[in-house]
Amino acid sequence: MLFSDSQILNAILYTPLVGALILLLIPRGQGAVHRWVGNLFGFLGLAVSLPLLWRFRIGETGFQFVVDKQWIPSIGAHYTLGIDGISFVLVMLTTLLGAIAILSSWSAIRKREKEYYILLLLLQTGMLGAFMSLDFVLFYMFWEVMLVPMYFLIAVWGSERRLYAAIKFFLYTLAGSVLMLLGILAIYFTAHTLDIRTVLAAPHPLFSVHLQKWLFWAFFFAFAIKVPMFPFHTWLPDAHTEAPTAGSVILAGVLLKMGTYGFMRFSLPMFPDATLAFRGIMIVLSLIGIIYGALVCMMQKDMKRLIAYSSVSHMAFCTLGIFALTPLGLTGSIIQQLNHGISTGGLFLIVGVLYERRHTRKISEFGGLATPMPNFAAIYMIITLSSLGMPLLNGFIGEFAILRGAFEVNKAWAAWGVVGIVLGAAYLLWLYQRVMFGNVTNPANESLPDLNAREYATLIPLVLLAFWIGIYPAPLFRVLDVPVRQLVIRYDPEYYRAQPVTPVSAQPTRALLVPPADAHSVGAMERGN
């Protein structure tokens, strides 16, 4: 084995950083060299993470591949990394989308390539670090570090209003994070540790209900702005519209997941009473986000802006699943986060393909593209269907599980969610229709070249993943089973005891996926505790 268990996370985390440092040493003006080295390390970053796929031990509680070293003894901060099922899924998504994003920039970015690839790789390290950190201070540092490269990606390589969009993005997200910093300090002075594992493993009421409520809001703004939940979403359309393609892919694919990850890693398990108390508000905001995002999509004239608002709607599904607080809702939410990375990342790549050819993103400029670009049309169709939740494709699994999870708690929530799905189908298909079908009305579109090999290389992996999750999501459910159980037990210790059979028998997807014996053994273990 190339890396031992204690080294593999470091290897994944620092491969992009090493790439960035190497690029730093290559003099400017050699664009081709920077492109090659950037792509090499983008691919390497993915490659070193692949062993996790078979080395990650499914069904094990707690964190794996843990690295724990003294870092700042004066304040008790440790350098602690580790992943559980949730972060495992997100780390894999990050390394995959990171490699794809770098590859997608090959011909799109032709100015200041050195800085561009350095920043993309730094961003990669920042995001991976945030998913892996098990120490509050370390987590916060990575959480903020990733803002800086993203600012530059938007501000330097974006389109017309890029400066405005970049600083808006930075200030919005920073506004949330600084309050979280105070929350972290408050946690420290109550729990007397900066170790996330200790706080997670602590017996249920670690913080008083009163303090939980304060902490919940301190963390809420950081995460809600990142997700972004309605009404904190206004930075997103600007940032997406102005960012270069790779920036949008990373932003939608990974950065937004920071928010939902934060809810699942911090808010839910650490402040359970507060979460229950504010659950209604969270659900209402999620439902508004679903419907509002979808309605706004209908009115957009800019393709990227449309997809940006669709992110608001889709991510609101994820928060709906989270705050439903049922196993299916949570699992569905994580799967939907993965799906959103795949399909929305794919949609941004699609827009990038068109933008490179026509240098416009206006929907009215296109029409009838299926004629000159048949293969593009096919792939675009698949990604559209995956995004709107067509069965056999990934979106269906996630949305279905979320709705099923929400339905368990309150039928009205699920009903509103369904409205969102219908609207989602409407705006995505309408967009497809306006761009691809009909006659070529604009002469500039008549002889657009179809996809080239590199563009296939960026899109095909996403299409394959979409099919895989859509057809055989069992491994995903298995990976997520244990961490989701641990979350649910925080709220309802009786959940698995009261319904030892229903989660399996009443839910067809689960019945296929989770071998009953496995479920019982985990249940037995918890009962033993």
Binding site: M141, A155, A166, F170, L174, L185, Y188
Partner: protein, 464 residues
């Protein structure tokens, strides 16, 4: 003991004719300081207990020397361009450095006052060193007039203290103050006057008006020197006085200091937003930083004082670094201190742009830089002492700060270069910039050694 002191005194008599001798002086002084590192926590006093050499002094002495060395390295080329290359410049710098040293080790009101004036008078001259520049003259005059006034107020406060204790020795005064009745009028009056004088020196609101003009007018290396070394020295004096004499009456000044801190953060951060001159912008931002540092005193616990020390130490490096980049931009015919002069710096001199980025991120308090750790410690102390509202105000003021700091970045990285000339970095500047960057990043990524150094300096009033 005496030998070491002579070493400091010698510097000014060297009348250094060039930067090298000056650097040499700083180096020897540094060696002497290094030998002092083992002094006991209580310190060793000398000269009839009028000075005391303790870890507190060693810590601040190190900051002064580092800042002096950095500024000397920056000055050589700058003075050549300005055509004002005179030996007195370095002599004055060292002269003020001696003043700072005594400020940090003085244990007697007379010594402290003389040290303060030694430092300040050298600065009055230095800030007006560009004789042919009107801004320089204006700044210097303002600095002199307001400075003299504030010194007068401070002297009045000192005289009140002498009146209460019948001695100028800090220890004696501390004992005398401790037995005064609560809410004693004389004591409060002395507190108000001393605090006003000190707040002027550190440029805290409402005694800050001189700072932007002086920074803008002074030669850029001197602006850097004022903003880091003079500020550190004034903080040393402030800490020495507040932690010894006024510690027993802490309840009387905590409120005032927190108001001053919040006002400084407010004014500094909001006024900086509209500035178009880089040096004025940094001047206002430094007022904001003073607010953050003062919050450590408001918290007043070990972590807060450690945070202050860490903040002052690292601020010396990253703020000097930012000024160093502006110095690099000074070329024949180009002043280089307007925001527009930064336009497209990434194309013209990538190294300078990247360095400036690091310093600016640190000033804004974004990890992984020293500025973040400094702010973290301050917030830490505030939460620890239950100053929640202050903590929330303090973190929220990061936002306007980020806004104007990122204007600098946007000018460097996004705007098209207006002029095509490529600023060149001289070897001296390379050393200064590299040192500043190394400290900024090291203290941000692995702050432990710096934190130890800061804790080592702590003068704990609680034990007295």
């Amino acid at each position: 003991m005496a030998i070491l002191l002579t070493d400091f005194l010698l510097e000014k008599e060297q009348k250094a004719w060039n930067a090298l001798t000056a650097l040499l002086g700083v180096f020897f002084s540094g060696v002497a300081l290094w030998k002092l590192r083992g002094v006991p926590q209580g310190g060793v006093s000398g000269f009839d207990n009028s000075i005391v050499v303790d870890p507190f002094f060693v810590f601040f002495g190190f900051i002064f020397l580092a800042a002096t060395a950095l500024v000397i390295l920056l000055s050589v080329k700058y003075l050549e361009i300005e055509d004002e290359h005179h030996g007195e410049y370095y002599a004055l710098m060292l002269f003020s450095a001696v003043g700072m040293m005594f400020l940090a080790e003085g244990n007697d009101l007379v010594v402290l006052f003389l040290a303060l004036e030694t430092m300040a008078i050298a600065f009055y001259v230095l800030s007006g060193f560009l004789r042919r520049d009107r801004r320089s003259n204006e700044g210097a005059l303002k600095y002199l007039l307001l400075g003299a006034f504030s010194s007068g107020v401070l002297a009045y406060g000192f005289s009140l203290l002498y009146g209460m204790a019948g001695s100028t020795n800090l220890d004696t005064i501390a004992d005398a103050v401790a037995v005064r009745p609560p809410r004693d009028f004389l004591l409060l009056l002395s507190l108000a006057t001393v605090a006003a004088g000190l707040f002027f020196k550190i440029a805290a609101v409402p005694f800050h008006q001189w700072a932007p003009d002086v920074y803008e007018g002074a030669p850029t290396p001197i602006a850097a020197y004022i903003s880091v070394a003079s500020k550190a020295a004034s903080f040393a004096l402030l800490l020495r006085i507040f932690l010894t004499i006024y510690w027993p009456v802490r309840v009387d000044w905590v409120g005032v200091v927190s108001v001053v801190a919040v006002a400084s953060m407010t004014l500094g951060n909001l006024a900086a937003i509209t500035q178009t001159n880089l040096k004025r912008l940094l001047a206002y931002s430094s007022i904001g930083h003073v607010g953050y540092i003062l919050l450590g005193l408001v918290a007043g616990n070990t972590r807060g004082l450690q945070g202050m020390a860490f903040y002052i130490l690292t601020y010396a490096f990253f703020n000097a670094g930012a000024f160093a980049v502006i110095t690099v931009l000074r070329r024949k015919d180009i002043i280089g201190d307007e925001l527009d002069d930064l336009n497209g710096l990434i194309e013209r001199n990538p190294a300078a742009a990247v360095l400036m980025l690091i310093f600016v991120l640190s000033l804004a308090g974004i990890p992984p830089t020293a500025g973040f750790i400094g702010k973290l410690l301050i917030f830490w102390a505030l939460i620890e002492t239950n100053h929640y509202i202050l903590a929330v105000i303090a973190v929220l003021y990061i936002l306007p700060a980020v806004y104007y700091y990122f204007r600098i970045i946007a000018h460097m990285w996004v705007r098209e270069p207006g002029d095509v000339s490529r600023p060149h970095i001289s070897p001296g500047q390379v050393v200064a910039l590299a040192t500043a960057m190394a400290v900024t990043l090291a203290a941000g990524i692995y702050p432990e050694p710096f934190l130890r150094f800061a804790s080592y300096s702590l003068m704990l009033p609680f034990g007295r």
